[in-house]
Amino acid sequence: MSDFHSQFISAMGGQEERLEAFLTDPTHMVRARVYQNNSVTATADAIVKNFPTLEPIVGTEFLRATAIEFSNQHPPSSPVLTLYGAEFPVFLESFTPAASLPYLSAVAHLDRAWTEAMFAENAKPLAPQDLASLPDDRVSGLCPGLHPSTRLVESEWPALEIWQANRNDEAQGTVSIEQGWFGVFVWWSANGVATRQLEVGEAIFLKAIGLGASFGTAIEKGSSHAAPETLFNFFAEALAAGVFANPTITSMGKPS
């Protein structure tokens, strides 16, 4: 690191006198704060923009202060600020000033999943017609994996209800906040980012697919918590919604 660059960073951190040797006018030392302010504003703006559901819950001032605290501890490592804040939901779990809102992290996880689904690779999903000509046992043996845009968010709070009530301008009534198990699936659909509340068996099925299991095996695993007919219906719904990856049919279903 050159001496100038190193001293400039120190000056941005508050040690403005480090710049004196590099300035024609020493009174300009305090102006390091302008660069610091620009930098902090840009990173905090990115967090506020990337987690839009939190603002109506905690207010602009609190969210900005939280974003600044986060960016001090986790400064961006990349200029791609659209994707900045991957660690923010986990940061919120132990952020003491937000302790009275224990579901905040879960809502942030959903915002993050929404962003990741939105900017995921535009891969063509597996479609019902891809399977139309295959015999049932062949379909059962397929191991397609999940579409790259899919995300599963699990929490002990009704994150999706809170998220839906705050994501858009129109509040959708009050949400009864009771702890339990809540699974939300997020993916890129033909109509934009889609969300769906999951039952436990459905989540087990999707997780198994994500880990490389065949449709048959995934339904078997999910059956520990759901009736097989329910899972067959869910499979058809998920297939139509485009949540499975689309490896070429000729290579699918072969024993590996």
């Binding site: 302008v34 660069y35 990349s78 600020l81 659209t82």
Partner: protein
Amino acid sequence: MTSSALPQNAGVGLKPEHYRDVMEAPLDKGLWVEVHPENYMTDGGPRRAWLEVIRGHRALSLHGVGLSLAGAEPLDKHHLARWGELVRQFEPASISEHVAWSVQDGTYFADLLPAPATRAALTQLTDNIDQMQNALGRTILIENPSLYMNLKGEMDEADFIVEACNQSGCGMLLDVNNVFVTANNIGRNAGAYVDAIPADLIGEVHLAGHAPDPVLGDALLIDNHGAPIAQPVWDLYQRLIRRVGPKPTLIERDANIPPFEELMVEVDHANALLHEGLKKVAAHV
């Protein structure tokens, strides 16, 4: 050398809220668009899909903010690779970056930080420009910075940038608002700066708004791209265009984004000044 295939008209910084407006704007204005490639460095998604559509109808400029050309470290190869991917997909008419730095030890500072105009800094800058141009297989434009403090240097900033262009074969993106803001902030002559840049190096011009610092007021102007272009900046632009002739000119607005029609008023004004120059040339033929 202009290093740019952009039309010699006014263009506009493309914002997601204006995607549809840009598509519907009359084609006869020769409107072109510029984006920060960092906002499109995703695996996929609707922004890239929109840009692909708009790219089919408008000339496109990719104007980076994060490569840190004036940094003390080698360029981030991962970031440069993503640049390359965008250049291959969108085949932009122009590629530009800043004479500034923003990355150090793996941290991105999210601002365009200044570097002193020294011989050592010039070598570092030209090495980085070479690396960018070689990686992308394209000639780039480099933009003069807005400064908030007067750094000791070994040459004038204009000479520093012209020398970097001459050594690396790149062109210059002359930001007239940055010239005005810097001149105000560190006591430099804006007109002399603009006059010092050779016409054939200028591949693009930027115009934007600024704001007084909340504490120091007009003594320190902040290049915030959040206001209409100020009259003294228009005056400086007119002085430039009368000397160098028409150049692709961008209306930049990155904060307090107004309705598209408001930006088009500034686009029309820039076009009027560009055409005024053309009429003068025609009158002398």
